[in-house]
């Protein structure tokens, strides 16, 4: 009888502990998400990345100087030569295409 009570008590403890842990983890997740929402991350667009990266080595080139396909080739070249992160190169390419 005592053993069965202990088993029941243990099961109750495990259940309560499990639920508590689950709620704790959920609340932690919520807090993290909330804190992230409070500090919105600024994502740089292609225009800013263009101004940041291209003028480091040369005068800025006008988007109208080349066609879309030519910019694609040139940005591929600059991605290799200037070690641009591909995501940044893609955003710059998008900006050049939209403004040529």
């Amino acid at each position: 009888m005592k053993e069965s009570k202990r088993v029941l008590g243990l099961l109750r403890f495990v259940f309560v502990a499990g639920v508590s842990m689950f709620l704790f983890c959920q609340s932690g997740t919520l807090v993290l998400a909330d804190s992230q929402n409070k500090k919105p991350v600024k994502i740089l667009d292609g225009e800013k990345l263009y101004a940041i990266n291209c003028s480091r080595c040369h005068t800025e080139r006008y988007p109208t100087e080349r066609t879309d396909a030519q910019w694609k080739t040139l940005l591929m070249h600059m991605q290799v030569r200037a070690n641009l992160p591909p995501e940044q190169a893609r955003k710059i390419l998008k900006y050049m295409k939209e403004n040529n």
């Binding site: 480091r56 080349r66 030519q70 080739t73 040139l74 591929m76 070249h77 290799v80 070690n83 992160p85």
Partner: protein, 460 residues
């Protein structure tokens, strides 16, 4: 009873008479009106018959349309059936014949320069149009992963104005000229993923940043820092390079590791002697490493960090180096470079490199040629003056020094330092007029040199 019945009949007759007398006159119809009404009824009947005929015609037309629709549907079903049979065949044809959707995968870029020089001092010469240079870069994008790059340099050089060389002590030129055509670089680039690109072929070596970013049009002064002559500019080999963005403000870390044919003796002999009879470094070629006369290739790399606060406000730091044998006796040549660049507004920039090398020799032990350079630029548009020419002008200044590390065994200056103020006038964003005055001081009592250089540069 009869009386009652008579009274009722009399009353009804009376009421009927009164009622007939009280009928309005309008109820009365004349013959003309009747005839008009009759005509109207007849015309309505005719219209009704016409409507019936039209309805019947429409019903007939609907029937024909339904019949045609059914026929068309049957034809469409047959077409779909035929298309489903043909499509696999078409797909197989498409995979065999790929039609390019873009025709601008090929791009011609590069730069061109034209130079006038007037040299004075210990190596005085007459003014001369000293250089005409055309350096095209051919780019071909095979697909989203593969890029071919090739840079050429075609120039005509008036050798009568050759600067006094601190290496070989030459103090006089000649009246001739030389025309050169060189392959500066030629590589195949394969973009593995977002973090690694394989570059193979004749490569610009990432020792510092000058060789990769110092083309005539990119540099704001007409000539190179003296200390760059201590380094090997290009090499045949393979390289893996890439970058990783840090955060979302545009900052990144970059890397490059490579293996290439190292420096070598100019004459191709197995001699490990570094110096000729005049004890100068004449048997070491840093201009290019297309052959490997050594037992093993050289290895090198660069790691860099770039951090922008906002557009035109940033800092970049880099550390690079190379090590490897430079002759058949296994003597080592090693180099280390620290590079830095800072932009503190759209108007002001400064950059520089410190270069340190170590070269094993048989007759002088290990020598350590080294040097550094620092260059700044200031755009006059900062002042926002409403005057002609000035807003399109940039002032430039460079100080550079080199020490060949040869010591007292040489009869020529072992070091030199140069002050070089200059000016750039931006005719357009790609067409520049550059001018600079440089004063070079040599060690060991050698007379100083100075020269004026004017250059027209065009980037395309």
């Amino acid at each position: 009873m009869e009386k009652i019945m008579k009274r009722i009949v009399f009353t009804m007759v009376t009421l009927s008479f009164v009622g007939l007398c009280s009928v309005p006159r309008s109820w009365a119809v004349t013959d003309d009106q009747f005839l008009a009404l009759q005509k109207e009824v007849q015309s309505l009947e005719q219209e009704h018959q016409q409507d019936q005929a039209e309805i019947q015609a429409l019903k007939d037309q609907q029937g024909q349309t339904e019949q045609k629709t059914e026929e068309i549907k049957k034809t469409a079903d047959k077409a779909v059936e035929v298309a489903s049979q043909v499509q696999p065949a078409m797909q197989s044809v498409n995979t065999e014949v790929k039609v390019p959707v873009e025709n601008h995968n090929f791009v011609l870029a590069g730069d061109a320069e034209f130079q006038y020089t007037n040299q004075g001092g210990g190596n005085k010469s007459h003014g001369s149009y000293g250089l005409a240079d055309f350096a095209p870069v051919f780019l071909y994008r095979a697909n989203d992963k593969v890029l071919f790059e090739a840079g050429f340099d075609t120039s005509i050089d008036n050798s009568s104005i050759t600067l006094q060389s601190p290496n070989n002590g030459a103090t006089s030129g000649n009246s001739g000229y030389s025309t050169t055509f060189n392959l500066t670089f030629a590589t195949i680039d394969y973009l593995f993923n977002d973090y690694a690109t394989l570059v193979a072929g004749e490569m610009l070596l990432p020792l510092g940043t000058y060789s990769e970013r110092g083309a005539g049009w990119l540099n704001k002064l007409p000539d190179d820092p003296m200390s760059r002559s201590l380094l090997i500019g290009t090499g045949v080999g393979a390289q893996v390079r890439g970058s990783k963005a840090i955060g979302n403000n545009g900052s990144m870390v970059t890397y490059a590791v490579y293996s290439a044919n190292g420096g070598h003796t100019i004459d191709g002999t197995s001699s490990s002697t570094t110096f000729d009879g005049a004890n100068t470094i004449q048997n070491f070629d840093t201009s290019g490493n297309r052959t490997n006369m050594n037992r093993t290739p050289s290895e090198g790399g660069r790691i860099g960090w770039f951090y922008p606060w906002k557009p035109h406000y940033d800092i970049e730091l880099g550390l690079s180096g190379q090590t490897g044998e430079w002759n058949t006796d296994g003597k080592l040549w090693q180099a280390g470079v620290i590079d830095a660049a800072v932009h503190v507004s759209p108007y002001f920039e400064t950059k520089g490199e410190y270069i340190y090398t170590g070269q094993e020799t048989t007759d002088l032990g290990t020598i350590h040629p080294q040097g550094w350079w620092l260059q700044s630029g200031f755009k006059m548009s900062f002042f926002n003056w409403d005057v002609p020419l000035i807003p399109s002008t940039e002032l430039v200044f460079r100080y550079d020094t080199v020490n060949y590390g040869i010591g007292d065994l040489t009869s020529t200056p072992k070091n030199a330092r140069r002050f070089q103020p200059g000016i750039v006038y931006y005719i357009t964003n790609t067409l520049w007029l550059e001018g600079s005055y440089e004063k070079i001081f040599y060690g060991d009592g050698v007379p100083s040199d100075n020269q004026w250089i004017a250059q027209l540069s065009y980037g395309f």
